[in-house]
């Protein structure tokens, strides 16, 4: 049973050390018989030391709040603008992707559907050499070319073979063609290669293989070795 319901009037003064000496003595006498007061004194006793270490009041410039929030408002406005631009960019990218997908689907249809198109290239000199080209359009990236060779002689030293998509107006000195990549047959004249090309087949309906000097010049210089049927 607590000895007193209200806090003891001298408890705070005792903790803070502001009692007259005789008041302090009397309170200590009370304390020895009052567990409630002892508990409270124990709880509050660290506070005077904390008060002594209190930092002095800081005189924050009164307009700092307004300046800080003006800056936040400025940055919020410019990041909203940034976000709008980002969204606009994403929307534009989405339109491009959709257009490319549409384009890919259209080309795929013209290539004979998902199975792709199979084109046979025969030797230009009437010989046995042959290449079978399988063109698929797996998406917007371009055409995937599966090349299978038969009886193609080894290229002479310093030469390589090159596969081309050929446009209708292609003529010596007035090229209308796009490289699909370079290759060598295996020692038996066969071999397979997988090439990736950006050429849309309707724009370049023909295909041929030329023998090119390995000289770093990307232009077509060599003779046609294999060609698709007109």
């Amino acid at each position: 049973v607590p000895e007193h319901l209200a806090p003891h009037p001298d408890l705070a003064g005792y903790v803070l050390g502001v009692l007259e000496p005789e008041e302090a003595e009397a309170f200590e006498a009370h304390l020895s018989g009052c567990p409630d007061c002892r508990r409270e004194v124990a709880e509050l006793a660290p506070l005077p030391a904390a008060l002594r270490e209190a930092a002095p009041p800081a005189a924050v410039p009164p307009d700092l709040e307004a300046r800080t929030f003006a800056r936040i408002e400025r940055e919020a406005r410019s990041s909203r603008r940034g976000a709008r631009l980002r969204w606009a960019g994403l929307a534009a990218a989405a339109v491009i992707v959709l257009a490319l997908v549409g384009f890919g689907v259209a080309r795929l249809a013209s290539n004979g559907g998902p199975a792709g198109e199979r084109i046979v290239l025969a030797a230009a000199d009437g010989g046995q050499a042959e290449a079978v080209v399988h063109v698929t359009a797996p998406g917007a990236v371009g055409r995937v070319i599966e090349l299978r060779l038969r009886d193609l002689p080894q290229a002479p030293k310093g030469y390589h073979y090159e596969l081309w998509f050929v446009g209708p107006g292609d003529a010596p000195g007035r090229p209308d063609r796009m490289s699909a990549g370079t290759f060598h047959p295996d020692p038996g004249g066969g071999g397979t290669a997988r090439l990736l090309v950006a050429a849309p087949p309707p724009r370049f309906p023909g295909l041929d293989v030329t023998l090119e000097p390995t000289d770093g010049n990307p232009r077509r210089e060599g003779p046609v070795v294999l060609r698709s049927a007109p």
Partner: protein, 181 residues
Amino acid sequence: VESAADEAELLAQVAEGDHGPPLVALYRHYHGSLYALGLRLLGDRGLAEELVQETFVRLWRTADRFDPARGSVRSYVFTMARRIAIDLWRRPSSRPFEAPVDAEAVGGAGIDEMLSGLVVREALDSLSPAHREVLELSYDQDLRQADIAARLGLPLGTVKTRSYYALRALRLALEERGWRA
């Protein structure tokens, strides 16, 4: 005065895009301590102001990264402020003439004591003026309770009661700020 949970709630509102009243409430809670920290660490009013501004800009920007399970808003704010103070201190233009008053403290040693002193200041500032006044008179000057009563023009009994409730309020305000004896 907000409890730690209230502060987390305020910061959650900031994270949802409200940089009005919730952020203002947090600003008013911490600006004094941050400014004092800046003065103490950087020794310059302009840099102290910059510390306050930068801390709140970053608090606003990173509000969505605050995870109440990992700590209090207070520790989030002061961790950020310490990092910003170090950045400000390293900025060559911060030290045109001489080393700051407290180069050591920026690195860490002694900063905990300083933060603790700032917490006590915040807790005191959060008390009612009547409570703050009676406590300040008790520890600032070598006064007896009768002197305090005379100074404030109050009956002695009132000063005794008021001192008690002021201590309880201070204890609570300190606990809300994560202070430990």
